[in-house]
């Protein structure tokens, strides 16, 4: 990497080399038994240069292919966007624990056993269910150096477990599932099995929803599938800079219910999305986005921040290409109401676990509209069964302007979001008998 940087510096005013190498092993289960073991080794090196004031960019998987890498970066710099920022010099980073050697040393036999146990608990509850499961471990090494003396290097371990069960009766299909991830090994299947079994219990009886405006409780998964795609886009500094965020000009204004607070936090110990710095070498920090309903800030990388005349929030994320603003791990603050109390409050309404296709509409405008893949009907304060053939539609900004309650228990969903359930007073429900 040092060699690439040294050579790049000869043709460009500034240069940065970023490399990620990873080793991943997973045990994959199909039809309730182990079917594949996979190992993946990967290396990638990205070179970003500023030449005659413009950004050039190239990547390769070949550490020795230096000439081609530099030539490609130089070629693209002829057209690249004018660079408005300076690469960060050497800076101190917070100490964040994200590496546990016990992940890499977990034997594949233990991963197999963990998956088997998980499937066993679930099939004991519902013998005819067919499960797919994945137990995986990964070690990632990230290194970044730049021509301003900036330097970052860290190792991360990730252990994950996920399961999806399908229950088919004629052409009636039920899908249940849950996943967990951590920088420490996960050794117990009970908690995740418990979530799946609860879903199976609640979905046992069929129920029907009317076409009407109804109160809706989104579970943490429901929040992730219906509401978060729009919010993640709206708080992205790039969307704001382009004037395409509905809340871009509402900094300091109350847009959401005062019970709602949201922040981005890549500094929590042993969370898979935590890291000491972002992919541009800017130190990680917690960034408030909504403080008691008030729009508090947006997420920036270096270039977007410079164009917006503000500072990077340490949210430069490569995601395979040039750095761009992206949340690391979003958290919605828990409230005061338990899930049971929320359900009890509803005379007729829905609990939504999974809204399929909600992210396909005009999420930029905050619209969501999806088919209830997993959701339950509430009648007189009780969950009575599963609803199907039902669409729920709304707009995030209208839905979160006034929420009836925020759940008291937050849970991680897919590693990127920690949220409690949210209870909206009314949303449009369309159903087909």
């Amino acid at each position: 990497m040092e060699k690439i940087l040294a050579l790049a510096k000869k043709t460009a005013e500034a240069a940065e080399v970023f490399s990620v190498s990873a080793e991943e092993t997973s045990a994959q289960f199909e039809t309730n038994r182990l079917k594949h073991i996979q190992s993946k080794q990967s290396t990638s090196i990205a070179l970003r240069i500023i030449k005659e004031g413009r950004l050039g960019y190239a990547t390769t998987t070949e550490p020795d292919d230096i000439k081609n890498l530099i030539d490609s970066a130089v070629e693209t710099a002829r057209f690249g966007m004018p660079a408005k920022f300076e690469l960060p010099p050497s800076t101190p980073y917070p100490q964040i624990d994200i590496f546990d050697p016990a992940v890499a040393s977990t034997p594949i036999e233990n991963m197999d056993k963990l998956g088997q146990e998980l499937i066993e608990i679930i099939t004991r509850h519902t013998p005819e269910i067919l499960c797919e499961a994945v137990v995986s471990k990964e070690t990632e090494s990230v290194k970044l150096i730049n021509s301003n003396g900036g330097r970052a290097e860290y190792k991360k371990s990730i252990f994950g477990i996920g399961i999806m069960g399908s229950l088919i009766r004629g052409t009636d299909m039920l899908f249940v599932g849950e996943s967990r991830s951590s920088c420490n090994p996960i050794t117990q299947p009970k908690e995740i099995a418990g979530v799946v079994i609860r879903q199976l219990e609640l979905a046992k009886n069929p129920a029907s929803a009317p076409t009407a405006q109804l109160p809706v409780i989104f579970t943490p998964h429901g929040v992730a599938s219906a509401l978060v795609p729009s919010l993640a886009m709206a708080f992205n500094g790039k969307t704001v800079l382009q004037g395409a965020s509905p809340i871009g000009n509402k900094l300091g204004q109350k847009v959401f219910d005062s019970k709602i607070s949201l922040w981005d936090d890549p500094t929590i110990a042993y969370r898979p999305h935590s890291r000491p710095c972002d992919d541009e070498g800017v130190a990680s920090r917690r960034t408030p986005l909504i403080e008691q309903g008030v729009v508090a800030s947006f997420l920036y990388d270096l270039q977007t921040a410079a164009l917006a005349k503000t500072k990077s929030t340490g949210n430069g994320d490569r995601g395979g290409g040039l750095p761009a603003p992206s949340p690391s791990a979003l958290t919605i603050a828990p409230g005061k109401t338990s899930m049971e109390e929320m359900v009890k409050d509803i005379k007729e309404g829905l609990v939504i676990e999974q809204l399929m296709g909600a992210e396909q509409g005009n999420i930029l405008g905050g619209d969501f509209s999806g088919n209830v893949l997993l959701g339950y009907k509430v009648e007189s304060g009780k969950i009575v069964g599963r609803v199907k053939n039902t669409m729920v539609s709304g707009n995030v900004y209208q839905a979160l302007k006034e929420v009836t309650a925020v759940g008291s228990r937050a849970e991680w969903v897919g590693g990127f979001l920690c949220t409690p359930p949210l209870y909206c007073p009314r949303l449009s429900v369309a159903s087909k008998e």
């Binding site: 190992s39 990967s42 081609n68 005819e128 076409t211 040039l322 509409g361 449009s428």
Partner: protein
């Protein structure tokens, strides 16, 4: 840069030396370039190169898979894959028999990577100018990418296949905003290497930009059941989501209940309905000569005269269901094992005209163009980029984009008219099992669906 041919030569002999029921290897070398615009400015341009490969081994029904960028220790990789497969395998290995193939497929298309970035940029500048001539726009995004890759496939049965693949995608979107209301419209296309379709979009781009602004003043549809007419682009997404995924046998082959639902000969739609998947049609984004298991591409009827007559297979699913392999095992790249995927999926044209189809509709929705689609097997949703009310047999006022949803098993039966104007849409990318976006195409003539659930505000 290491040469994958040299590595392949080393592998060919090595694959036969290990104790496994079957071993295959795929080596890949690729180049990619991209240009994106955000708003009036070019936002990024970049180039990337990658070399990598994988080994997949089968032992007593269990699979081991090892992927890598570093080509140095290939015997060690084979050993690991075999060891993993041995750990998994407790059954009997079953793969549908295929003849080993030795073939080098010539590259037909011009390599779009040879067109200088400057020339591509010039064209995109023209499009961006057109977009920005439209009054009332807030921002826009243009994303162009092309890639060229060479793959070498080898198997312990003696196959050696070299195949090139080029792929181009271009996505444009325009965003209009007013008073906190944000609306967008988009255009998406792709090609199997031919750059010329990218050059002829001036008029489409202009319409797209105008449409985004118009949406600000259009109403949202009232949610409920409607008779819906889909244009060829959206009907293509519909056939992909609402039926295509269900015909992928890896969902079905080990699931006895689903096998009963998907039994061949079962009536799924009217006698006019024919659905095909074919990688053997040349020149489309889902086209190829051999799949990633070295099986020759075929044309597969999934639905013929409304009846389920076929499905898509890998060698393993074909063997376990006692059917013929169809050459549909595809991997997005060397980091993934092949899984059963669609290629070019379409509804065959019928006899009706567009006017015949809408003539009898008192109140309905005409939905065009696509944002996306997804399926759970039983349920599907897909979203239209444009929508209009149909009133008394005529296209009436414009609507905001709609989301359509339904039950796979009933909705195919509700297709009650099929026009003759088949068009293939090349702008899509399909996701499954963490592998996205896989180049596919899908298509259809205009179709009419009765009683389709439309989400509204």
């Amino acid at each position: 840069m290491p040469d994958i041919k040299t590595a392949a030569a080393r592998l060919a002999e090595a694959l036969k030396e290990y104790k496994a029921d079957y071993i295959e290897a795929r080596l890949e070398q690729s180049q990619r370039s991209h240009i994106t615009y955000r708003g009036k400015e070019l936002e990024s341009a970049g180039r990337s190169t990658a070399v990598g490969g994988n080994i997949r081994a089968l032992v007593r029904g269990g699979w081991g898979f090892v992927s890598f960028n570093n080509l140095d220790d290939l015997p060690g990789r084979i050993e690991l894959a075999v060891k993993q497969a041995t750990l998994v395998g407790k059954e009997e290995s079953r793969l549908a028999p295929v003849q080993p193939v030795v073939d080098t497929v010539a590259s037909k298309e011009d390599d779009p990577l040879n067109i200088p970035l400057a020339e591509k940029k010039e064209l995109l500048d023209e499009y961006n100018d057109i977009i920005w001539r439209t009054p009332g726009l807030q921002t826009s995004v243009i994303g162009y990418a092309d890639s060229h890759k060479k793959t070498i496939f080898l198997s312990s049965a003696g196959s050696y296949i070299e195949q090139p693949r080029t792929d181009i995608t271009l996505r444009l979107s325009a965003v209009a905003a007013h008073d906190g209301d944000v609306q967008q419209s988009g255009l998406s296309l792709g090609s199997r290497g031919d750059f010329s379709p990218m050059r002829r979009l001036h008029k489409d781009v202009e319409e797209m930009a105008k449409h985004a602004v118009e949406l600000l003043s259009t109403p949202q549809v009232k949610g409920g059941e409607y008779t819906v007419v889909l244009d060829p682009v959206l009907a293509g997404v519909f056939v992909h989501e609402a039926f295509g995924h269900l015909s992928e046998s890896d969902f079905v082959y080990e699931d006895d209940r689903l096998r009963q639902v998907m039994v061949l000969g079962k009536q799924f739609g009217s006698r006019e309905l024919n659905i095909i998947d074919s990688a053997a049609v040349p020149g489309l984004r889902g086209s190829y000569k051999y799949d990633d298991e070295g099986v020759p591409a075929t044309k597969t009827y999934l639905i013929k005269e409304g009846k389920l007559v076929g499905r898509l297979h890998s060698r393993e699913t074909a063997a376990k269901m006692g059917e013929k392999p169809t050459g549909n095992a595809r991997a997005i790249n060397y980091r993934h094992p092949p899984i059963v995927r669609m290629t070019n999926t379409y509804i065959e044209p019928g006899k009706a005209s567009f006017n015949d189809i809408i003539a009898g509709i008192k109140e309905g929705v005409y939905a065009k163009n696509w944002f996306g689609g997804t399926t759970s097997m039983e349920m599907f949703t897909f979203s239209a980029g444009e929508a209009y009310m149909i009133r008394n047999g005529k296209i009436a006022e414009a609507l905001r984009p709609v989301v359509l949803t339904g039950n796979v098993f009933t909705t195919l039966n509700n297709i009650d008219a099929i026009a003759g104007d088949l068009e293939m849409n090349q702008g899509g990318g399909c996701g499954k099992g963490g592998q996205y976006p896989l180049p596919v195409s899908n298509g259809s003539p205009h179709i009419r669906i009765s009683r389709c659930l439309v989400g509204g505000g």
